[in-house]
């Protein structure tokens, strides 16, 4: 029996060493009244690790995981984009099928829109109407931001039916909503927001993804050109200027040929400054070009940081007030991204770490 007693002692020790403890429910108070910038961090796909960072350029201070810290819950899986409107930040979380609305000073949730198929971007037409694009879907979901309810959808004609279509970045010009159809598509759509009907569309280069409007009311689009083995083709990425009236391509600039694996070129993230006269995009480095330029610049505005390997920039933002340029390097995509902040003339002002796979920037004002 002595042996049994000893065994019991061993088992008791195992039991004592066998409890896992978690801490939940602790929230923090924030009062971010300054004019800062939010960074949406995608996190690794299917791990629910999306986070939100907030950077105050005045004090060069960054707060990470502010959504979790303010709300004691996770933001979700793959935070794709964010928009601020009337003091409310709208964070689109792709693989959680949700858009969170937060107070931009306290970071507390004020509401959410759920049951979205695969949300990517949100664009406001009014206080009571917004559009949410969907990847792997031929739909744009219409929502009422005041009630957080889905109020309708627009079924969009696609170039191909692969993956059921794709609606990506959107631009509002007057009464018309312009949509880039990206994944396995070639198409730009024009939608009348008064009727929510597609009134026109045009096929341009392979996989148009990023879209902005300039001060002259022209659309600028970057198509990434697909990839080798793509069912709809493979070509160099292109930058287009498009007349929104008739969707005619007015100007085309050939960018680098995208690649996968060890490739260093991958055109994406087209942005424009607040004045609407200067374009920025990532293609290896960060490129900048005036909207009236006749040809592409010979050198990137910001070169990749040289090390043993070159930086592969993943995120890009242009501050609306200072035109400072924020560039995110996702490093190995398994650690906190580094954000580099450059002045409008390309001088490095600051750098800080955000969350895993920083993907988008959103200024409060």
């Amino acid at each position: 029996m002595r042996c049994l007693r000893q065994i019991s002692v061993c088992i008791l020790a195992v039991l004592l060493a066998s409890c896992m403890r978690w801490e939940y429910g602790l929230t923090e108070q924030f009062d971010a009244t300054a004019n800062g910038v939010f960074i949406t961090n995608e996190g690794n796909f299917t791990y629910g690790g999306a986070t939100l960072s907030y950077y105050d350029p005045t004090f060069k201070s960054v707060e990470n995981e502010v959504f979790y810290r303010a709300n004691a819950m996770k933001l979700g899986d793959v935070a794709q984009s964010m928009v601020v409107r009337n003091g409310i930040g709208w964070v689109v979380v792709n693989n959680s099928h949700v858009v969170f609305a937060i107070d931009v000073e306290t970071f507390r949730e004020v509401g959410r829109i759920t049951d979205l198929p695969s949300p990517r971007y949100i664009l406001f037409a009014s206080d009571e109407k917004a559009y949410i694009s969907q990847i792997d879907s031929d739909r744009i979901i219409i929502v009422n931001p005041k009630t957080f309810q889905i109020t309708g959808e627009i079924i969009c004609p696609m170039t191909t039916e692969y993956r059921t279509g794709s609606t990506e970045q959107m631009v509002l010009l007057g009464d018309y909503l312009y949509v880039a159809c990206w994944s396995y598509q070639k198409r730009i759509l024009k939608i009348d927001t008064r009727t929510d009907k597609v009134v026109d569309y045009k096929d341009i280069g392979l996989q148009p993804k990023s879209m902005v409007a300039d001060k002259n009311g022209k659309l600028w689009v970057v198509s990434d050109g697909g990839y080798e083995g793509n069912a709809i083709g493979y070509e160099p990425a292109k930058l287009y200027r498009i007349n929104p009236e008739n969707l005619e391509v007015e100007q085309t600039f050939a960018l680098g040929l995208n690649g996968s694996g060890n490739a260093t070129r991958s055109a994406s993230r087209l942005k424009i400054n607040d004045k609407g006269d200067m374009l920025y995009w990532i293609d290896g480095g960060v490129w900048r070009m005036a909207i009236d330029a006749a040809e592409l610049p010979a050198e990137p505005f910001i070169r990749p940081i040289e090390g043993v390997n070159r930086s592969l920039y993943y995120a890009l933002g242009v501050a609306p007030d200072t035109e400072e340029v924020y560039v995110g390097d996702a490093l190995d995509y398994q650690q906190r991204s580094i954000i580099y902040r450059y002045s409008s003339d390309g001088k490095l002002l600051d750098s800080f770490t955000a969350g895993v796979i920083a993907g988008d920037f959103c200024w409060k004002k």
Binding site: D77, P117, S266
Partner: protein, 671 residues
């Protein structure tokens, strides 16, 4: 802090118990001096292995090989619940660095490079052997971490036999096992069927999200963590395994093993999923067939054998949300396998020569609604080894493997090993080995669309290990085995799939990894008193696995850090206490904190704290003139822990299953 206290407590109590146990052994049972238990076979010279016998493998019908390995070894098993992808990794390496052989047939997916251990019911395996590090080279190349050898064996019984087990458990779980056997002097046949189904819809408190309560103006007035069910997690797995063995008059052996699997598994929603569409579907299906025929010509001092096999796998993945976002992915893999092996023993010179040449020809067709790829690849592997025992207490081994993937020959893979008995009293043996190894990229790594990278290089590595072991005992009284080994390996060109700006992932050779550490195992089997028997098995591993490559770019904080999702410490203990026809089995396993970032930063949203799990089983056997019956109750997650093993994938709380087994006695049987 808590972890440290727990480990100290464990060590302290274990040491105390051990010290007292020695007294008890001496005083209570009057055990005389220890004696050497057994002589090590020559084929095991220089091999570090962990053997798992059929008693452990056949604990209960609901277990997969992933469960068995979790509780019976220190290798890291990563899964997110029953019937979810379960991968196994040795010594801080990745799952694709573990080679898995079933009756000699390599069953790693040629597409993914890894094996899903949740798809292998432990009741379909009679013998499992873990080959650590360089010890795997004698069986297969590519096992930078090691290899898992699974085998089936003919039953010892003669005549007709039947064994049926019915399990009923929590969450509408049903497990069935049926085995029909027949054996006589020459023939043995076995047919095994395993069928498992479950809604798997356990409840859990979701701490990753909150439910909102709004007022009439749509203002949030209250929030709370909801209690949710594990949604979309049902599964239905069926396996049929047919074996036929024939022994000729002159001792030659013929064997046939055919294993068919049909699986339907839903993929559970993340804890952070806010979708509630009733039109949601997300599931994977698999139909696979694995067949091997073998012939062995065995003589006193030599043996030749030949095997041929075929694997067919059909994989389907379907996703749609509200009939809008859809994916339909289909893959077909055909693999043809052939192998010739032999060995010759020069008994006087105490030399054993062996060789093996193996061919796997893989044909992959993979597609979804948008893209896909087709690829064929021949994988030829040849190995020769020599083992020499110049004196009884010393053994040396040298192995050389050469492989060809497609048109490319790899660099030779050499292994040298030496071992020697330094004390016969405690059968204390020292062992050391060194080897090179490599792993070719999988077909998905090279050709998957989108993202495949045909420019990938093979991962290559050097590893070294040294160990000590002791085995003592006294017949029918007790048997004690202990072993410990130190290892060190360097792996270059580690392949990782990373996101790209284009919305898909792509693999790259990005890291150089240094993994090192210590593995220790102990097992004790002791007769406590008349009718009482205790069996204890324990293992522990300390496996730092550090990225020592060049920075990805400026600011890379992953250099010198532990690889994400690889625990530094892991351990397991199982104890079985038997009294006559009663048996109590306690299982415990532990993984230390796992980092989710390569920089080892700990985020509030990315924490995987230390993992402890306790399971217990109680079994009673009844023997009647007409049949043997058994009744077993199992409790999993005994302390109802709320935990996750993979981020955002909740695990079940305490759950139960009971099993009823019957073995009719059809006439006299001989063993």
């Amino acid at each position: 802090m808590r972890k440290g206290i727990s480990i100290l407590l464990l060590l302290l109590v274990s040491l105390t118990a051990w010290a007292e146990e020695r007294d008890w052994l001496r005083d209570g049972l009057e055990i005389p001096d220890v004696e050497v238990v057994a002589r090590r076979p020559m084929r095991d010279i220089g091999v570090e292995q962990t053997k798992i016998d059929s008693a452990m493998l056949h604990q209960n019908i609901s277990l997969s090989m992933a469960d068995i390995l979790s509780f019976n070894s220190s290798i890291f098993v990563k899964n997110s619940g029953r019937a979810t992808l379960s991968t196994v990794s040795f010594r801080g390496t990745s799952p694709s660095h573990t080679q898995v052989l079933w009756n000699g047939l390599l069953i790693n997916s040629p597409m993914l490079g890894m094996t899903d251990f949740s798809m292998i019911p432990s009741f379909l395996v009679d013998k499992a052997t873990l080959l650590h590090g360089s010890s795997s080279v004698t069986e297969s190349g590519g096992g930078l971490g090691g290899a898992v050898k699974l085998a089936t064996e003919p039953t010892a019984e003669e005549g007709f036999g039947l064994h049926f087990v019915q399990g009923v458990g929590s969450f509408w779980t049903f497990d069935d096992f049926l085995r029909l056997t027949y054996g006589n002097g020459r023939w043995h046949s076995s047919t095994r069927v395993v069928f498992s189904t479950s809604k798997n819809n356990y409840r859990y408190r979701n701490y990753d999200k909150k439910e909102n309560i709004y007022d009439a103006e749509h203002n949030i007035v209250e929030q709370y963590y909801p209690v949710e069910r594990n949604r979309n997690a049902a599964f239905r797995d069926a396996h049929l395994l047919q074996e036929v063995y024939y022994k000729t008059k002159n001792g030659d052996r013929l064997s046939l093993n055919a294993w068919y699997t049909n699986s339907y598994r839903e993929l559970p929603l993340l804890t952070t999923d806010y979708g509630s569409s009733p039109e949601y579907e997300n599931y994977q299906r698999e139909n696979s067939f694995r067949g091997v025929v073998g012939y062995d010509h065995i003589r006193t001092n030599w043996r030749v054998g030949a095997k041929a096999g075929y694997i067919y796998t059909w994989l389907g993945y379907d996703y749609s949300y509200n009939k809008v976002a859809t994916t339909r992915s289909r893959s077909r893999i055909n693999t043809i396998y052939a192998s010739v092996s032999g060995n010759y023993s020069f008994e006087e010179a105490k030399v054993l020569l062996s060789g093996d040449i193996t061919l796997h020809e893989n044909f992959v067709r993979s597609s979804d609604s948008a893209v896909g790829y087709s690829a064929d690849r021949a994988e030829l592997s040849a190995v020769v080894s020599a083992r020499w025992q110049p004196i009884d207490r010393l053994g040396v081994a040298a192995t050389m493997r050469e492989e060809m993937y497609g048109q490319e020959w790899t660099l030779p893979i050499p292994v040298v090993a030496v071992e020697g008995v330094v004390s016969q009293k405690g059968n204390i043996m020292l062992r050391a080995s060194a080897s090179r190894n490599h792993r070719a990229p999988s077909l998905n790594d090279l050709y998957f669309r989108p993202g495949g990278n045909p420019d990938l290089r093979s991962e290559t590595g050097w590893s070294y290990d040294a160990g000590i072991s002791s085995e003592v005992g006294r017949k029918d009284i007790y048997k004690l085995k202990v072993s410990a080994s130190w290892f060190e390996s360097w792996i270059d060109d580690w392949i990782l799939w990373l996101p790209t700006n284009k919305g898909f992932f792509s693999p790259r050779n990005v890291k150089k990894v240094h993994s090192y550490g210590v593995e220790a195992q102990a097992s004790l089997s002791v007769r406590l008193a008349k009718d009482w028997r205790l069996e204890l098995n324990g293992s522990a591993a300390w496996t730092p696995s550090v990225n020592v490559g060049a920075p990805i770019s400026a600011g890379d904080n992953s250099i010198g850090k532990q690889l994400p999702y690889v625990p530094r410490f892991s351990s397991s203990v199982t104890g079985r206490l038997s009294f006559r026809s009663w048996s109590l089995l306690y299982k415990w396993c532990h993984y230390s904190e796992r980092f989710t970032m390569s920089s080892n930063d700990v985020a509030l949203t990315g924490k995987l704290p230390p993992y402890f799990m306790n399971n217990i089983e109680l079994e009673k056997q009844f023997s009647f003139r007409w049949a043997d019956l058994s009744l077993k109750g199992a409790i999993n997650n005994l302390f109802n822990e709320e935990y996750v093993s993979v981020l955002s994938h909740p695990m079940p709380g305490i759950n139960f299953e009971i099993f009823f087994g019957i073995r009719p006695k059809w006439g006299e049987k001989k063993r």
